[in-house]
Symmetry: C2
Subunit: 220 residues, 2 copies
């Protein structure tokens, strides 16, 4: 695994928490490589929107409530568009991939509840499903944009607050979306996906205050 992936993982799992300052020199010591690859990784992370540039160095990005609102709304816009296209362009192979992701989610639901492993497995299955839909849309440009608007740290944390009902509701939505895509029904795929993501948005916003210290840490 490269330095970029390592640092990214450290940010997502809050080894480097929001607001944490990152300097090239310090990172060379953490990861035992020279400044050159560190610089490159930082540039990529900046592009990902995972870190915020300062006059010197970076800090791990923090998100305001307004940021979350805007990011989720855009994700709803783009992914519902992708879902509609998927309903028109999907191949048999795409359908298989999506159904496999649904199965993985189903299996993850059977794991020991509220366990870290279950969380990990659900996050993984969920992202497989969304990836499958985007792939089926057959539009690389929309894929790239969605990548830019999906905020990994938030995804990771939000699922951890899901209770059994939330998990199941999300699962049902996946099945509805998949059905619409299989049936070549772009309108339904679109609205279902939009609803699915806006529910995610409301959930995250609702839990924003409780986890605020982690998400909304500001620089003093």
């Amino acid at each position: 695994m490269g330095v970029y992936e390592n640092i990214k993982h450290a940010i997502i799992t809050e080894v480097y928490p929001p607001g944490f300052r990152l300097t090239e020199e310090a990172l060379t010591k953490d990861w035992n490589v020279s400044r050159t690859p560190i610089r490159e990784a930082l540039k990529k992370l900046e592009f990902d929107g995972l870190i915020t540039p300062l006059k010197r160095g970076f800090i791990v990005r923090t998100f305001s409530k307004e940021d979350l609102q805007q990011v989720y709304d855009l994700r709803a816009l783009l992914e519902s568009y992708a879902a509609a296209q998927a309903a028109m362009n999907r191949t048999e192979e795409d359908i298989l991939f999506i159904q496999e992701a649904i199965r993985a989610y189903e299996i993850a639901m059977l794991m020991k509840e509220k366990d870290m492993d279950q969380n990990q497995a659900i996050v993984e299955a969920n992202s497989r499903f969304h990836k499958g839909v985007i792939e089926a849309s057959c539009n690389n440009h929309v894929r790239d944009l969605i990548d830019k608007v999906v905020v990994l740290p938030l995804m990771f944390r939000s699922f951890y607050h899901f209770d059994q009902t939330d998990i199941d509701q999300s699962f049902q939505m996946h099945k509805t979306i998949a059905r619409a895509i299989v049936n070549n029904d772009p309108d339904r795929a679109k609205t279902a996906m939009q609803e699915h993501i806006l529910r995610g948005r409301d959930f995250v916003l609702q839990h924003y205050e409780s986890g605020a210290t982690a998400v909304n840490q500001t620089i003093d």
Copy 2:
């Protein structure tokens, strides 16, 4: 002006034409800097989608007809969304900026027709208008996404094929969009912007074959 801006400009103006191979070493000679800043510039240009990575080095990006279709459709989706938000969130300052862009366009229309300077001035005024709308939407995330989906080289070239009617039609649309934003009419702002950009799309697609050698150069 930095190396990044220089190379970017060279790509937009086709000093480095589509398909042209860019190696770090060669670029150090063209711009008289060491490989370090060149590497950084290339990474940024890759993020911008202006160059395509190869196993070694890069080539200046080429766009297929399908690419153009997808990119313009996404731009229509995002900018019409931004226009709707602008109609809700715009300040008096935003309105002034947008009207100023419209005035600049008007002035550019009076210049000597089909001149390179006129082209430049219209491209400039047009991008000021769109920037104004996006700014008025008061949503930095949507701005970043649109930046990623607006393809500079194409903008530059497409205006050069505009005749007087096209230029005027585009101007009228700007006024319609601006009016809707001033009147706090999000629906109208949205549909007008969508229509405006889809017309741009159709125009570019229509002229795709004629300029195909420049745009669609492939690697042999």
